[in-house]
């Protein structure tokens, strides 16, 4: 059973002056009931399990601020980081090679999708036993890469738009989607969330997985995601925690020992803790409802959902109806 973040948690996070992990146990309230068939039994919402007891280790690199500086209003500066864009353009050709640089994403994909399917089915009151539960929903995948998330969403019936700042990714995604009739309808655009906001585009669900740790301005980015979400729509974000374990597994092990990811894929200082993410999203008018962690079983070579948010985690929130407190002009 999954528990939901209560309002008290959101208040607690908002009122705490610093979003430092370890700022204290987050209270959980309102255990919510879920359709049992939709969820693996081990799903729990974690509290701040990752970091409440032990303060995080000092960052290995004393946060060299790379790319454009965060601008307070976020109006003119894109939340994108040019260096990061270049990094992904270099390996774009290998997006669909399930044994290539993006293998970890391929392996993780079914687990991410089962969380998204389950939460969106509940959010939009869809039948989880349907083969196309997202039929008729407008969904955007921000930072779609080669389309490894967009395609499954389209197969689940959603009307999908995929955007990415790397032109090469978009080209690859388009070609790959065209090879299957069930994904040929995906609209891929090389643009940024900020630009779509300017075009006043809105979507029932906005999904951005493994992107926020690569952007220059996470708050500006989340505000753009919020602006793209229709009122009462759903937002889903996944990323990597800034914890000791995340440093050991996602950076040291995955990049340097196992060579799962190209070295330098993730920078410690840019990682976001679950508490910070909840806070940032709250400021962007998105109330986080559920969070879950991903844990890797090295014996089975599979990921599963858990209440352990200490490394990879995913959050689902609802866009509040009221006007956002911080408006990006």
């Amino acid at each position: 059973m999954l528990r939901r973040l209560g309002p008290s948690l959101r208040r607690a996070l908002l009122t705490s002056s610093s979003a430092v992990p370890g700022c204290g146990g987050v209270q959980l309230t309102e255990p919510g009931l879920l359709p049992l068939h939709a969820l693996p039994p081990q799903w729990r919402l974690c509290s701040s399990a990752a970091s409440s007891n032990s303060p995080p280790p000092p960052p290995p690199h004393p946060s060299p601020s790379q790319g454009p500086k965060r601008s307070a209003d976020g109006s003119t500066v894109s939340s994108l980081n040019p260096a990061e864009v270049a990094k992904f353009a270099a390996i774009a050709e290998t997006w669909w090679d399930s044994e290539g640089p993006f293998k970890p994403l391929h392996v993780m994909n079914p687990t991410r999708l089962s969380f998204i399917r389950s939460t969106l089915c509940r959010h939009f009151r869809r039948d989880p036993n349907s083969s196309k539960p997202l039929e008729g929903l407008k969904v955007i995948d921000v930072g779609c890469g080669g389309g490894i998330l967009a395609e499954p969403l389209a197969r689940m019936g959603a009307t999908v738009t995929g955007i990415d700042a790397v032109d090469k990714n978009i080209k690859i995604a388009r070609v790959h989607a065209a090879s299957d009739s069930s994904t040929a309808s995906i609209e891929y655009v090389c643009t940024t969330a900020e630009d779509l906001v300017k075009e006043h585009k809105q979507f029932d669900a906005v999904i951005s997985l493994e992107v926020i740790e690569h952007v220059a301005n996470p708050l500006g980015f989340c505000e753009s995601l919020s602006a793209l979400t229709v009122p009462n729509g759903a937002t889903v974000i996944s990323t990597i925690n800034r914890s000791m374990r995340a440093y050991a597994t996602a950076i040291v092990a995955a990049e340097y020992i196992l060579n799962w990811l190209p070295k330098g894929t993730h920078q410690w200082s840019k990682l976001v803790t679950p508490e910070e993410l909840v806070l940032i999203l709250e400021r962007a008018s998105i109330s986080v409802q559920e969070m879950a962690g991903f844990v890797y079983n090295p014996l089975r070579g599979e990921w599963s959902l858990s209440d352990d948010l200490s490394v990879n985690y995913i959050a689902y929130g609802i866009k509040r109806v009221e006007t956002p407190s911080v408006v990006s002009n």
């Binding site: 399930s98 079914p110 036993n129 083969s131 499954p152 090879s179 009739s181 040929a184």
Partner: protein, 526 residues
């Protein structure tokens, strides 16, 4: 409307089955006259497709399938049936390619008459799978025979064991069903689920199979600029199947259910490990004076002989022997053959097992261990005599074969195409049904997360699920076969001791029965 009436109303087409005693024609033979052409995977499709055939990407064309099942035997039909029975997969366009006329059957098979000699011993695990997919109901209206007792013994007269369903708290140990009844029940269920099953069955032969080339897996920018139309691009990512009636199909996934000589497997370049046993099995139907309610198996020096109840006063004989002997038994007069069967199941080759000195020691040894299974003390019985052989006698060579891979991109092998085991415990088809259930479940899981179900990483989950179970069973059966093919004094005593062990240590015995009944736990190690 009662189910039989409903079924017969489904289609007024007359019954047209092959002669009851005939082997289903292996698909292989039909398939091998044209060599598969791998080369035309990408380029060939592009050139042969007319540019005028522009279809928008969303619309499904009739020649395009989600899943093409090659081989409409028991396991292939079970895959189709399981898929059409799950909410997540029932929308998939599934095609079955098989020219076997038995697939035209739309009625119950009559219970009277002589049972076919091709039968399967289905385990409770298989029965619950059939119940789940709604096909067992149809089996129940056709000939089938449950058995609750089983006796296994060997020719040296030193050991025997009797299993009873009571030992494991079940009502029965298994059920003997004719293969044609299993196929027919699955067909009837498919008909119920899909309405028009004709669209699903391609009564033709597969001529060639072309898998998408590796390079299509990761489309490059170059591919975009090289001027592929979306149509070509689309087809180049699917498996191309050419049929003997001139039709060309494209499918996202091909399921190879075409038997132990699978041409789908060969075309895909998947290698097998295995060996032929220097043995053949001879099968036929015999008649008794009264009804047989027990499954009997006796290990003879040349191989095991089994006598399985198939309802009324009939039993099925599966007798393993050397190829020369099988030819002799096939051609001898029916009277001599019956005599030979009765001899093999009674005093032939050695005495009846009896309580002797070994028993005394075994009992003494195991009395300390404590509780014994209910039927521990059951006496040895002599199987009922056959009074006549009532079907044709058929002989076929035995082999053990295991595919290195069960899956590759856009391909999954099931049943005998993936693994052939020694038939001595009747496990072959049960493993096949286990494959069918597992594959359908993995496909449903894939659909639920929007995956491309031809994707190798998804299909690997099916392989991981099944390989362990299948290899374990093959090894157990192969071991049995090897142990019993040697007639050597000390080994005979060991074998007998093993029998006694199985007879007296109830947890072990329970494990063995459970495993043979299709539970997934390993014997001995659970």
């Amino acid at each position: 409307m009662t189910p039989p009436a409903r079924a017969s109303a489904l289609l007024s087409r007359g019954r047209c089955f092959p002669a009851a005693s005939r082997f289903r024609r292996p698909l292989v033979r039909a398939f091998c006259d044209a060599p598969p052409s791998l080369q035309d995977a990408a380029a060939g499709v592009a050139s042969s497709q007319d540019q005028s055939e522009k279809v928008d990407g969303m619309k499904a064309r009739p020649d395009e399938l989600d899943i093409a099942i090659v081989g409409g035997g028991m396991v292939g039909l079970a895959v189709a049936c399981a898929l059409s029975n799950m909410l997540l997969t029932k929308h998939l366009r599934v095609g079955i390619i098989d020219s076997n006329p038995a697939l035209k059957s739309r009625n119950y098979l009559k219970k009277d008459g002589i049972p076919d000699s091709r039968v399967s011993t289905v385990t409770p695990a298989t029965i619950s799978f059939f119940r789940e997919i709604g096909a067992w109901e149809h089996v129940q209206y056709q000939r089938h025979a449950f058995f609750g007792k089983m006796q296994v013994w060997d020719y040296t007269g030193l050991g025997y064991t009797r299993y009873s369903a009571r030992d494991v708290g079940k009502e029965y140990l298994g059920c003997v069903v004719e293969n044609k009844v299993l196929c027919n029940s699955l067909l009837l269920r498919l008909q119920e689920e899909n309405g028009d099953i004709e669209k699903m069955i391609y009564p033709t032969r597969l001529i060639s199979l072309a898998f998408p080339s590796k390079s299509r897996q990761a489309p490059t920018s170059a591919a975009v600029s090289s001027g592929y139309t979306s149509e070509e691009l689309h087809h180049s990512n699917l498996v191309k199947l050419e049929l003997s009636d001139g039709q060309t199909l494209y499918s996202k996934l091909v399921v190879g259910a075409d038997g132990s000589k699978s041409n789908v497997r060969r075309t895909a370049g998947i290698k097998t490990t295995g060996w032929n046993y220097p043995q053949s099995a001879i099968i036929c139907t015999v008649e008794h004076i009264t009804e047989n309610d027990c499954a009997w198996q006796r290990f003879l020096p040349c191989g095991p002989i089994a006598l399985l109840p198939i309802g009324d006063n009939f039993s099925n004989v599966v007798w393993t022997m050397s190829p020369e002997e099988s030819l002799r038994h096939k051609s001898m007069s029916p009277e001599d053959f019956v005599k030979s069967v009765n001899n093999a199941l009674d005093f032939g080759y050695g005495p009846h097992p009896h309580s002797g000195s070994l028993d005394y020691y075994m009992e003494k040894l195991f009395s300390d261990i404590g509780s014994t299974a209910a039927s521990t003390k059951e006496c040895f019985e002599v199987p009922p005599k056959a009074i006549g052989v009532v079907s044709e006698r058929m002989a076929f060579p035995l082999s053990l074969k295991h595919s290195h891979d069960y899956v590759s991109k856009r391909l999954a092998l099931v049943g005998d195409a993936a693994h052939t085991v020694h038939p001595l415990a009747g496990q072959g088809v049960n493993l096949g049904f286990g494959d069918a259930a597992a594959l359908a479940k993995v496909i449903a899981d894939g659909v639920s997360v929007g995956a491309d179900f031809g994707d190798i990483s998804l299909l690997k989950r099916y392989e991981n699920d099944r390989k362990a179970a299948n290899v374990a069973m093959a090894a157990v059966l192969d071991g049995f076969q090897k142990i019993y093919s040697v007639d050597f004094g000390p080994l005979n005593v060991l074998r007998a001791a093993a029998f006694h062990g199985a007879q007296y240590i109830s947890p072990l015995k329970k494990n063995i029965i459970s495993y043979a009944m299709g539970d997934t736990k390993w014997p001995l190690f659970s």
